[in-house]
Symmetry: C2
Subunit: 421 residues, 2 copies
C-alpha cells in the first residue's frame, strides 16, 4: 500500500511505523541490551520487519522472529497420513523459547490469526493438536501468565482475519479497512502515540486506584434485558493498563487495551443479563445470550443462535457456569466506536464492559500468592478449565457501585464512567 496521501494526513506506512514503535517502546518498554523473541504470521512481515528495526533502535541485542504460516498449518490437516501426528508438538522449539525468556528475553506476539482457519478441519484432530501444543507450550506460557517477563501482543491485519471482520468486501479492501480499525483502536492515528499511551495509562491507573479505594462490595447493572448484581471477591484488586513485570519492567501486555478488571465473587451473582455483542467461540457465533444467575451460578441460559454450544460450554465443569472476571470499558472507547465485531479477544474484550465465565485471575486478588486454594475459594475466586469473555456493555448500560457500608454510588451512566472514575 503506497503512502500517497497528503502529508497532513498520516499515511499507511507512517502508521505502521508508529504501531511498531508503540509495540517496542510502550508495549514491551524494551530495555537496552534485552533480547526479543517474536512470534508472528508470515502475512504480517511488513509489520514484523518494522518492529525488528525499532527494537534494535531501542537497544535490543538480538531479535528473533519465529514465523508461522497458515498454509503450513493447514498442510498437516490436509496431508498427514498418520493420525498420531496430531499428538506431536514442537516441544523443542517451545522449550527453547522458554529458555530465552528465562535468560531475560522479552516476548512480542503479532496477532493476526484467521479465527476460522481450522473451522473446516476434523475437530478431533484440531482438539488433539491443540492439546499437544498447549502441553508443550506450558513452560513458556507460564513465564508469560506469571508475568515473569515484559511481553506484548500487537495486532496486524491479515487477509484471513479481515475476511471474517468484513465478510462482504473484496480481500484487499477488507485488509485495508481492518488496518484502519487497528490504527484507530491502537491510538496511532495521532502524531505521538507514545505520549497518547502515557496519558491513556494514566487514565486507566487513576480508574483502578479510584475503584481500589472504593473497595465496592458489589456492582449493579441495569440495561435492556439486564438487571444484575455482581458481588466482588473479598480483597479484590482492580487492574488495567501498564503493569510491572517481575523482571522489573513496566509494560503494556495488550495493545489495544481499554478495560479495568477484577475478580467477582463466584458465589454472589444474582439476576439476569443479556449479551450486547455476539460471542465468537471456536468458529461458532453465539448471539443474544440471556442468562439468569442465582447465588453465583447460571441457572437458566438461552441464546438466539448457538444455544446448544453455549449450554455445552457452561457444562464444561462446576466453575464454567460461574463468573471469573468482571471488566468495565467505556462505551466511547475507540474499539467500541469502530462498531465492528473483530472475532478476536484482544479487540472484542476491549470493546465493551464484559464478564467472563470460568477461571479467575489471581493477580486481581490481594495477597493471593500465599493463600491456599480453599482460602481463595472462600474469598470468591472461581476455578475452571475455561475462561470466556462476553460483552454486556452498551450505550444503554448503567452501573452502580455498592460500598461495604451499603451506599449505592453511580459508576457508569449510559455506558460512560461518572463521578471520580
Amino acid at each position: 500500500m503506497p503512502d500517497d496521501l497528503a502529508p497532513a494526513i498520516a499515511g499507511f506506512e507512517t502508521k505502521l511505523d508508529r504501531l511498531a514503535a508503540l509495540a517496542v517502546r510502550v508495549g514491551l518498554n524494551l530495555r537496552e541490551g534485552q533480547e526479543v523473541v517474536m512470534t508472528a504470521s508470515t502475512e504480517t512481515l511488513p509489520l514484523v520487519r518494522r518492529i525488528v528495526a525499532e527494537a534494535y533502535k531501542a537497544g535490543a541485542t538480538l531479535v528473533t522472529p519465529i514465523l508461522h504460516d497458515d498454509a503450513v498449518a493447514l498442510a498437516r490437516y490436509r496431508h498427514a497420513t498418520d493420525d498420531a501426528a496430531f499428538d506431536v508438538a514442537p516441544a523443542w522449539l517451545f522449550e527453547g523459547i522458554a529458555g530465552a525468556f528465562r535468560a531475560g528475553a522479552a516476548r512480542l506476539a503479532v496477532v493476526g490469526e484467521d479465527p476460522m482457519l481450522l473451522a473446516g478441519e476434523n475437530p478431533d484432530r484440531v482438539a488433539r493438536a491443540n492439546r499437544a501444543r498447549s502441553k508443550a507450550y506450558r513452560p513458556a506460557l507460564e513465564l508469560i501468565t506469571n508475568f515473569a517477563i515484559n511481553w506484548n501482543l500487537v495486532p496486524a491485519s491479515t487477509p484471513g482475519w479481515a475476511r471474517q471482520v468484513f465478510p462482504g468486501l473484496p480481500e484487499e479492501e477488507a485488509v485495508a479497512r481492518l488496518w484502519d480499525a487497528i490504527f484507530a483502536a491502537c491510538r496511532v492515528d495521532g502524531p505521538d502515540p507514545v505520549a497518547e499511551w502515557a496519558a491513556h495509562n494514566r487514565t486507566l491507573h487513576a480508574r483502578t486506584e479510584f475503584l481500589n479505594g472504593k473497595n465496592y462490595r458489589e456492582l449493579r447493572y441495569r440495561g435492556p434485558g439486564t438487571e444484575l448484581t455482581i458481588g466482588l471477591a473479598n480483597g479484590h484488586l482492580w487492574a488495567g493498563g501498564a503493569e510491572a513485570a517481575k523482571n522489573g519492567i513496566t509494560c503494556n501486555p495488550n495493545i489495544p487495551t481499554e478495560e479495568v478488571f477484577t475478580t467477582p465473587h463466584a458465589g454472589r451473582v444474582d439476576g439476569v443479563v443479556r449479551s450486547t455483542k455476539p460471542l465468537a467461540y471456536q468458529g461458532t457465533l453465539i448471539e443474544d445470550i440471556a442468562v439468569r444467575f442465582e447465588g453465583g451460578r447460571i441457572v437458566d441460559a438461552r441464546a438466539s443462535r448457538g444455544e446448544d454450544v453455549w449450554r455445552k460450554v457452561l457444562d464444561t465443569d462446576e466453575g464454567a457456569a460461574r463468573l471469573g472476571e468482571v471488566a468495565l470499558v467505556p462505551h466511547s472507547s475507540p474499539i467500541s466506536r469502530t462498531g465492528l465485531l473483530f472475532r478476536n479477544t484482544l479487540f472484542d474484550e476491549n470493546a465493551a464492559s464484559h464478564i467472563a465465565i470460568g477461571q479467575a485471575y489471581l493477580t486481581c486478588l490481594r495477597d493471593s500468592a500465599g493463600a491456599s486454594p480453599d482460602e481463595l475459594t472462600r474469598r470468591g475466586a472461581n476455578t475452571s478449565l475455561i475462561h470466556i469473555d462476553w460483552m454486556i456493555g452498551s450505550g444503554e448500560m448503567d452501573v452502580d457501585g455498592v460500598t461495604q457500608g451499603g451506599e449505592v454510588e453511580a459508576l457508569m451512566r449510559a455506558g460512560e464512567f461518572v463521578g471520580g472514575a
Copy 2:
C-alpha cells in the same frame, strides 16, 4: 508464475512440486513417523509450503519451518545501537534444533541466500556475528556433519541470489532464469525425477566403487596452464551420491550433486594448476587463480583479480596452503552445461572437477574413527580452519590415475570419464 504452458512441457508449478517431492523422497528419504525441522528464507515460501505438504504425504508427524528473513538480518546491522549485540546468537533456538535432531528429526535446509547480502556491512560486525552464530550452532551442526541424521540441502531461486547470477537482467526475469537453471541442475526437468535420481545415484556409486577398487596412488592432471600431480591419502576412500546416515537412513544430503570426492595426501602434490571458473569468496570474486605446489604446499600463488584476498586466505594457517579434498565431476554435468557461475558452493562445486585447500574429510579415509591425529596426518589428511573449493576442471582437462604399482591409466579425457569410471 502461472503454469500456462502446454501440458507436454512441464510448467513452473509442476517442476516446483517435483523439486519438493525430490527433496523429501530422495534428499531426506523421509521415514514414516519422522519429524522434520526445516530452515528457509521467507522468500522461498512457495517451495517451503510444497515441501511441507510432501513431507506430510510421506508420513511426517510434524514439519517445522524456521524462517529467516533478509530484511530482519540487515536490520541488526543498520539499527543496532550497541556493538556488543554482534556477539549474541540465538543459542536457545539452535539448542532446540539440536534437541529435535537428537530426538530423531530430519533436517532440510532450503538454500537461496544472496551471496552479497552482508557485503556492504561493517566487516568486523559480520565476522563477530558469524563467530557467535557458529559457536551457538555447533551442537546442531555436529549432528549434521557427523551424519547422525538424514539431512538435505535443496535450492530455491530468490531475488538476491538471482541478481548475482544474472546481474544484467531485470529481477523477475533473473529469478525465473535461476529457477530454470535450478530445475535443470536438479534433474527435475523430466517426468520422473525420483527414478532419474535413483539412476544418477547408481552411476555415482559405480564410480566410487571403481575408484575405490583401483586405489590409485596419485592423479595426474593436464590442461591449459595445468600440469599437476595429486597424491592420494593412504587408505583414501571415494564417496559420492546417496549415503547412509548413522540413523540408518540412506539420503542425498546435496541436491544437486555430481561429484565423487576423496582425501588427497597433503604432502604429495606437485606442479602447476590454473582455475577454470572464478571463485566467489565472501563477496569477492577471485579470478584466474594460478598456483605452484611443491611437496604438497602452495609455494607460488597468483590471480588476475583478488590476488591479495587469495594470498591472505592461503596464509590463514599451515594447512590453508595444502589440499584437503579432490573431486571429479564430468564436464557434461547438468550444472556445467548451464555455463553459469552460481556463487553458491552447492552448485559451483558440482559444476566442474575441483580441489579444496584446507581441512580434509575424515569420512573419506578408511578406519579414521579410531586413528590418532598423528596417524591421520601421516596418512596424508590435512588440517586447517578453512575448507575452500575451487574449480580446475574443463572440457580440455585430462586426468590419469596412477596405480600403487606405477601403471598410468586414463581416467578422464576432455573432461569426461573414460574406461570403467
